[in-house]
Amino acid sequence: MTTTEARATERKPPQIVDMSWDPITRIIGNLGIYTKIDFANREVVECHSTSSLFRGYSVFMKGKDPRDAGFITSRICGICGDNHTTCSDYAQQMAYGVKPPMLAEHIVNLGEAAEYMFDHTIFQDNLVFVDFCEAMVKATNPGVLARAERTAAPRGDIHGYRTIADIMRAFNPFEGEIYKEALKVSRVTREMFCLMEGRHVHPSTLYPGGVGTMPQPTAFTDYLSRLMRIIDFIKKAVALNDDVFDFFYEALPGYEEVGRRRVLLGCWGAFQDPKVVDYRYETMNTWGKAMYVTPGIVVDGELVTNNLVDINLGLRIMLGSSFYEDWVNEDPFVTRDPLGNPVDMRHPWNQTTVPVPQKRDFDGNYSWVMSPRWLDPRTGDHLALDTGGGPLARLWSTALSGIVDTPYVKATGDSVRISLPKGESLPETTLEWRIPKWSNTIERDRARPYFVAYAAAMSLQFLEEAMGLVRSGDTKVFENYEVPDEAIGCGFHEAVRGVLSHHLVIKDKKIANYHPYPPTPWNASPRDMYGTPGPYEDAVQGQPIFEENGPDDFKGVDIMRTVRSFDPCLPCGVHMYVGKGKTLTTMHSPTYGASHG
């Protein structure tokens, strides 16, 4: 078993109550968490995570023009659709053998950086903080709130709040100051995104081979002026997050056990280096390591690999508790990768999705999510990697690799240093994210504002390089290509909440097989054929309960904090459902008149 080991403590006779939350609110999609809670020993005994949503992108992508893939897969998600477009374009660029011009890469990087800043801010400040706000803490741990009133905020000189309770009040939904300011900031960051990618969240200017964004100097200066407006907000966000999360460790001893699991993190890398990347599979290890967020797999605090080829070949899609038929007896699409390495039948390139709708049974099949795993070549274990909500794995992997060395961001081996310039009210600041002792709820949440700072710092570099190209007259943003008859491709990227891969097989210029693997299938996966629970289940199972309420008025805030720390986003978790009795109307407006309809 590759799960986290249970803690040994003195036990009282168990008093087990079934508790379930289905659907969980403040996330996207249908996620259900079914638990058994032992109120006598104040811990969660068992947990199942389930999704009741089937979508079937991998089913209906077949037979389509591969050039449409980026536009279609963008619709997988209503918040990180552009990550799918970007990843799909990466996979297509590999299949077509085309490398976009430098300026196009910078524009994509700038758009993606704005997306990270937007999405992390709105999720953290408007959705996660509700679990840490004054109203919630008063309802679940009144003693903690009383202590927060008495505790001065150590970084009050930066963010301006005197006590921890003042910060918690500013977190209150709809009325708190931070809640309202975050909404404004997420508008500004979305504007930055639209300057680069045309439209949020389904980009209109990203294509394989380049972008359609007009590279005018004003596009970049407009981006820069907006970035400088929010740069102080980012510095404050890091400071007040650190204050609140440090306070939770202090006020509730043992809180580090909440949502803690073995360190099993995966990061597929983000922000291509335009000078290095050529999108060839053969050189994928080189340009993968040149990415400005280094890919990597971290097991028990050690970096196992940061080679994208190894990461790719180790991917396994398992069944065990999912509503699908096995595909191992189908014909494989890809038996060898372009380097000659064998490709497993359970690899996304060879997967065939055969849905089998059935009743939910927690002893058998209970979810539409499959179980993606990574085969550890050292031990032969199928690791249930999680993404740590995205930022934790990205920062951890980048820090351990120690490759990133840019004017604004530097990976040191055990930390990541991020320098942000002077803003309207705060001076130039260097933030340092250090590798934490645990992979737990608080550390997943804490990493998020640091990654917003990381994205802001990287975008300053991309802006400088992009404006240098525009000033030299190099405004080429698109490279033409031909769609080959047969080809394969894979794209590795980071969606806002973690790893994202797209695997593509082209036959007769059409899509023969297409499998997007976004972060939530990794995080929300059910038990696989070996019985290994998915990350949500593993993190919640065995976690202590600190909430003071009993079974009658139990809110489950500790469990919700854990689940939300992974930034769950279920629409991508399962791969169209029209409810009974709903009529679809077909409208078709041919571009060149009805004769073409």
């Binding site: 100097p217 525009v470 007259g473 078709h588 309809g597």
Partner: protein, 68 residues
């Protein structure tokens, strides 16, 4: 699709993607759009203004770059 029931396909995928005789964007319009070069670079003639097709930057000291 296994044993799952599916409806009739509603899309007609053979609708033409291109009608012959129509201009295709990837080929560019280099004769008509002065200031855009075949190697992907561009210069100040991309700007609008008086006789913009003829003018590069007005003064040698000015950078001959795309306008904002």
């Amino acid at each position: 699709m296994g044993s799952i029931r599916v409806g009739r396909a509603q899309a007609k995928p053979d609708t033409p993607g291109h009608v012959s005789g129509m201009h295709q964007g990837n080929q560019g319009r280099y004769q008509d759009q002065t200031g855009h070069h075949r190697d992907g670079t561009s210069d100040a003639r991309r700007s609008t203004g008086i006789h913009w097709k003829r003018h590069d930057a007005l003064v040698d000291a000015m950078p001959n770059i795309s306008p904002g």
